[in-house]
């Protein structure tokens, strides 16, 4: 009799745990749903830009900009050249956010240089946007150390917001020839994955 009571007690506790988990799950989803409109408003974008319809829950912590036009920006490279993303339409572009203090960023930068060399003639261009406001000397040091052969420039605080906010580094956006984002990655990706994404960008929006 006592055993039966104990088993029933365990059953009741287990049912209570299931109910609690379900309720917690429901509340969590409701909270995310409630937050989404607010997060979209935080992304400054003009109508029609990628940010205006971003879905901040679509990929791992990144706004899902895939399939959307890449937000345009104009920045000055280390050698003083003004580079606008719009001017690169017709090319596949890799926009890579990095920082001088970011060790994984510097692991993949030589790969980008290698792929710039390999696919540049096919219309591929890498742009490296430094997020940590380093001095020109610091950027030159990194450029020399990792052997970049593509423009490095300072992100101006607006570009990262337009790309959905850069919460950690590295983050990369692969843009097709038509100016639409075809893939995005956060964190260090494998070299093969980087190359596959570049090929995807080169194949997308062909003219």
């Amino acid at each position: 009799m006592k055993r039966n009571a104990a088993v029933l007690l365990v059953l009741a506790a287990a049912f209570a745990a299931i109910f609690w988990a379900g309720w917690h799950n429901f509340q969590h989803r409701r909270q995310i749903a409630a937050q989404q409109p607010m997060q979209v408003q935080l992304i400054p974008a003009t109508p029609g830009d990628a940010g205006s319809s971003a879905n901040p829950e679509a990929t791992d912590g990144m706004a899902d900009l895939r399939g959307k036009p890449a937000p345009d920006f104009t920045l000055t490279s280390l050698d003083g050249q003004k580079i606008s993303l719009a001017d690169l339409k017709g090319k596949a572009v890799l926009v890579n956010f990095w920082a001088t203090w970011c060790a994984p960023c510097k692991v993949e930068m030589p790969w980008f240089a290698e792929f710039q060399q390999k696919y540049g003639a096919q219309g591929f261009q890498v742009l490296g946007l430094a997020q940590d406001n380093p001095s020109r000397d610091e950027m030159l040091k990194v450029a020399a150390r990792v052997g970049t052969n593509y423009p490095l420039m300072l992100a101006d605080g607006n570009v990262d917001k337009a790309f959905g906010g850069i919460d950690y580094l590295p983050e990369s956006f692969y843009i097709g020839r038509d100016g639409k984002i075809v893939e995005e990655t956060s964190g260090l990706a494998g070299k093969d994955e980087v190359e596959a994404n570049i090929k995807k960008a080169l194949a997308a929006g062909g003219q």
Binding site: R3, V10, L11, I18, A103, P104, V107, S186, L188
Partner: protein
């Protein structure tokens, strides 16, 4: 009776599984990447004493040591403001452990993981209770990505006898 027990077991397993499926909020994984663990410490007044300050780096993360292997990396640095009647003379950091990203095994970093202790040498002029405030500046990464530098405000309560 046996059936009832089996049913209880199945339901209990279901309960555990249901709990495990609760999704982690995005970005919350490393909300507190470093925490300060110390409580009040007691020192002898009138002589230099080492105060041990305990910190814990969240699982799967590392922060650069005070002497990173690459000058571009942000060192972990503790600053303590002196309090009236208490001098902070020196701060001693532990050595970092060697760490390499799997994609670049040859590039060794000097990092702190798990628990680490920073020692502050202080001298209290008189017996009494002192409150030191300070900041731990650090920059955290996991095995694939890095977070922007942060500062962790800390309060150290030092009781001098």
């Amino acid at each position: 009776m046996i059936r009832l027990r089996r049913l209880a077991l199945v339901v209990a397993l279901l309960a555990v599984a249901a709990h495990a499926q609760i999704p982690e909020p995005r970005g919350a994984r490393h909300k507190s990447d470093v925490v300060y663990l110390s409580e009040a410490v007691t020192v002898q007044s009138g002589q230099p004493s080492d105060v041990e300050l305990y910190f814990r780096v969240a699982d799967a993360l590392h922060i650069n040591s005070h002497t990173p292997s690459d000058a571009a990396q942000i060192p972990t640095t503790l600053t303590l403001a002196p309090a009236a009647g208490m001098k902070v003379e020196d701060i001693h950091y532990p050595s970092g452990t060697r760490y390499a990203f799997s994609f670049a095994p040859k590039e060794k970093l000097s990092v702190y993981t798990g628990d680490f202790v920073v020692k502050a040498r202080v001298t209290a002029a008189h017996a009494g209770s002192y409150v030191l405030t300070g900041m731990l500046r650090y920059q955290a990464c996991d095995n694939l990505l890095c977070y922007p530098p942060k500062t962790l405000p800390i309060t150290v309560i030092v009781n001098a006898r």
